[in-house]
Amino acid sequence: MTNLTHMTIRAALDGLKKKEFTASELVDAHIAASEAARHLNCYITETFDLARDAAKESDARYAKGEALPLDGIPIAMKDLFCTEGVQTTAASKILKGFIPPYESTVSGNMKRDGLISLGKANLDEFAMGSSNTTSAYGHVLNPWKREGDDRDLVPGGSSGGSAAAVAARIAMGATGTDTGGSIRQPAAFCGITGIKPTYGRCSRFGIVAFASSLDQAGPFARTVEDCALLLESMAGYDPKDSTSVNLPVPRYADAIGGSVKGLKVGVPKEYRVEGTNPEILALWDKGAQMLKDAGAEIVEVSLPYTKYALQTYYVIAPAECSSNLARYDGVRFGQRAEGDNLIDTYEKTRAEGFGQEVKRRILIGTYVLSAGYYDAYYNQARRVRKLIWQDFMNAYQQCDVLLTPTAPTPAFAIGENQQDPVTMYLNDVFTIPASMAGVPGLSLPVGLSGDGLPLGLQLLGRPFEEETVFKVAHALEQAAHFTALPQTLQRKAA
């Protein structure tokens, strides 16, 4: 029943309630699809048996009429979320074999609501990257390919495995984390929808920390509505996270279908960045027009400090990560290298356990925090961050949401674009500013490139106004009517 893997979550929930199929059938279909798509390398750890057990329990509840809100829906869980009893690696060698004795709040929330994890999705190591080519467990392949070109493309990163799984229809939804764009950019590269909520909306407890003041968990799905359903499950105040914000979680799905008449959509001129693919710029204009046709007002706004967001990010995120990753020392968990004495052990363990990108960021982070440089780099970056945040708050006086491109290019081939770290960093130029300000950001597929690759647009909202973001995104989704399927799936269907 391949159509079971081509449904939306909304439709699947309907079908399960109406007993058109069972949770076990739904999960089995996705397990079969996952097995057939192993070459994409979406999962680091498959948990198919656990999923089957969970599906049985779900069916029992459906039979009694006691179904949980999202009971029986199979998802992929980014391997950055600690899952009790199940290996959690953060795609790093240094955590190989680590089995957490605790569950992250977000994954716990999802279990509470009946969602079923098929496995721990692959990612860039410690969430550092925009291509999912830095994982110690192998690259993830994008199920999309360029027309007439067989080269493997990157799914984006860091949540590449999660995005690819949803795009390849081997999971109905997935969790990701977004620190500088790690949900939004892979969503755009894989032709699906993903949202990074407001900082503090979802709990960070139990998520392997990269950059504490930026990390946020969020969902991937194939529709805006499905994302809304998943976010409602994931979000919520957690007293175990001191940066979690105590606000009730709205029924996000209720925002779907609302009218955008009279809403002001800001188009920030500073996002017209040199080097952006012209097709993307054209799509951006088209997207604005679509919203205008739906009744929204398009307003030009200015966020002058946008051009400093990337630099600010590459001071703050490495600084925080250099400290957050100090705990990976081979003493209490994870891999340990043999050393002659303590320092030798530390140095070898971390040299062998961390990949190149992670090392680079730890070193730069250590440098900018070190004596003599703290004020020049770290403090300066924190001040500029304040200015970037102020830009957004000012812009939101003139508009309700911002519309921007998500990424400067469509998905690129593995090896392309990856000569040096800084070039890679430019992938996040549109997503980073929203991370610095902590505002919610969603990416959805709006068109295709000339060679058949999905192109996404990004909507940024006010803090804790995810409902408005979902509403506008849905309107854009309706107008864009994006129905293209990844080439690898098309071939299969044929």
Binding site: A90, F98, P100, Y102, A209, S323, R327, R332, L369, Y374
Partner: protein
């Protein structure tokens, strides 16, 4: 030890500052819900947060915050309504996160001042620089195995207050008095149990020397000293060591040193490592700690009377000497005991009985005041019997000994043993006459000028009466009769 060290080339002065780490009296740790109690089996009081496991996050303990504020008020210090937690980054096996959550630029408590009591009766003011909250580290055992260390994280994450003094201390004695006073304040406020044996209070001592009038010299830090006596010894040794180095033309290297308790010396802790670069930055897992002025006021309103205030009140209200008052306020329980016993009685007598008789007996029995078989009320009862002449001071000592043994009330013992003092003038007069009659020759000798015989008569009377006659009355009557 005087404030001046006489060196071979002239006088030197010591400059001392203390950093005291006091474990806050809480049930759970500063940023996790694991128990902060002492003495558990290894790693039995460790949450995944304390173990620095992936994804774990800190959440602050409200009682630790409240007790830090309370302590700050007890040090007469400024409470900073906004303070920030920062990460102090370094690698060590007993520091699971690879950083300690501490406070750096913006501590919860700012400048303050306390009084210290010196043995010669003088009082000196010592400035407080700051107090901040921070996590304790775990413990490493290095002696269990030749090549390996064993790590226990029970202590990791325990809440500490670091109290930093200004460099106002000038002698080892002053340092001892400072530690003693800080400990008393903490115990009064119930914010730390001051138990140096269990490590709930530890001292780092900064020592430097200089020629009087010159700027401060280079200092050395003596780490982790856990008794008042060792603080004194360490300072005395270190100051002399520094003087010797300087007088022989050398320079003091700024370093951390360990005090060897066995031979009373200090030695360098210098390792091959460069000086630590801690890369302090505000902890992004926490928000600034913002306190309402009303919250601070509420704590101020529930402060108990502090030791120095109590000391001054005792001197004024009870007419006690500085010496006695100082000892009585040394422990809150002792001061409370005194006031109960003194209630309705002669306070100086109460002080005397408590300090000399009771504490003496407790010392001998190796008990402390909380285990005293004689309660404050009971001591008061004894004092009341002396006051109303039911018993003499001498008999009272007998009664007290019995009270200590049996825990019975004074009145009960006096009754049971028939120790009531005789105050019946008629009876006393009768006995005095008897004794004088029996010793008529001595009476003659006395009247002729042998004054010393007075004591003999008193002795005889006491013997005959079994010590039960009111000595004052005996004296008066005897004098009268002897006049002739």
């Amino acid at each position: 030890m005087s404030a001046i060290i006489k060196g071979e080339t002239g006088d030197w002065e010591m400059v001392i500052g203390l950093e005291i780490h006091a474990q806050v009296l809480t049930n759970s740790k500063l940023f996790s819900g694991a128990s902060a109690a002492f003495g558990a089996a290894p790693n039995a009081q460790v949450s995944p947060v304390d173990a620095g496991m992936p994804g774990m996050l800190p959440v602050i303990n409200k009682v630790a915050v409240e007790k830090a504020v309370r302590t700050g008020l007890g040090l007469n210090a400024k409470i900073n309504l906004e303070s920030v937690f920062e990460r102090k980054n370094y690698f060590y096996p007993d520091l699971p996160q690879g950083y300690q959550i501490s406070q750096y630029e913006k501590p919860i408590v700012g400048e303050g001042e306390i009084e210290i009591d010196l043995p010669d009766g003088t009082v000196k003011k010592i400035g407080i620089e700051r107090l901040h909250l921070e996590q304790d580290a775990g413990k490493s055992l290095h002696d269990q195995h030749p090549q390996k260390s064993f790590v226990d994280l029970n202590r990791s994450g325990n809440p500490l207050m670091e109290i930093v003094s200004k460099p106002d201390i000038r002698t080892a004695e002053e340092a001892a008095a400072y530690v003693t006073k800080i400990r008393a304040i903490l115990r009064y406020l119930d914010t730390c149990d001051g138990n140096m044996d269990e490590g709930s209070m530890r001292c780092d001592v900064n020592v430097s020397v200089r020629r009087p009038g010159e700027p401060f010299g280079t200092r050395c830090e003596l780490k982790n000293i856990n008794s008042v006596r060792f603080v004194q010894q360490a300072i005395e040794y270190e100051a002399r060591r520094q003087v010797e180095v300087l007088e022989s033309g050398g320079k003091i290297v700024q370093e951390t040193r360990l005090f060897d308790t066995k031979n009373g010396t200090t030695r360098s802790m210098r390792s091959k490592e460069d000086a630590h670069d801690y890369r302090y930055f505000p902890d992004p897992d926490l928000l600034p700690l913002v306190l309402d002025p009303a919250y601070v006021e509420e704590i101020r309103n529930t402060m108990p009377e502090l030791p120095d205030v109590k000391k001054h009140r005792f001197m004024k209200e009870y007419g006690l000497s500085l010496q006695d008052a100082t000892v009585l306020i040394g422990e809150r329980e002792r001061a409370a005991f005194f006031e109960k016993a003194a209630n309705g009685n002669d306070p100086k007598m109460a002080a005397n009985w408590l300090l000399t008789e009771l504490l003496g007996a407790l010392n001998k029995a190796e008990k402390d005041l909380s285990e005293s078989p004689v309660t404050a009320e009971q001591l008061g009862g004894l004092l009341a019997l002396i006051k109303d002449n039911t018993i003499s001071g001498k008999i009272a000592k007998e009664v007290f000994a019995e009270m200590f043994q049996t825990g019975k009330d004074a009145a009960t013992i006096v009754e049971e043993k028939g120790l009531k003092q005789v105050t019946d003038t008629g009876a006393i007069e009768k006995l005095v006459n008897e004794v004088l009659a029996e010793n008529a020759d001595k009476v003659e000798e006395y009247r002729a000028g042998k004054d010393k015989l007075f004591g003999f008569f008193v002795g005889q009377i006491m013997k005959k009466s079994g010590g039960k006659m009111n000595p004052g009355m005996v004296n008066d009557l005897l004098k009268e009769k002897l006049k002739g």
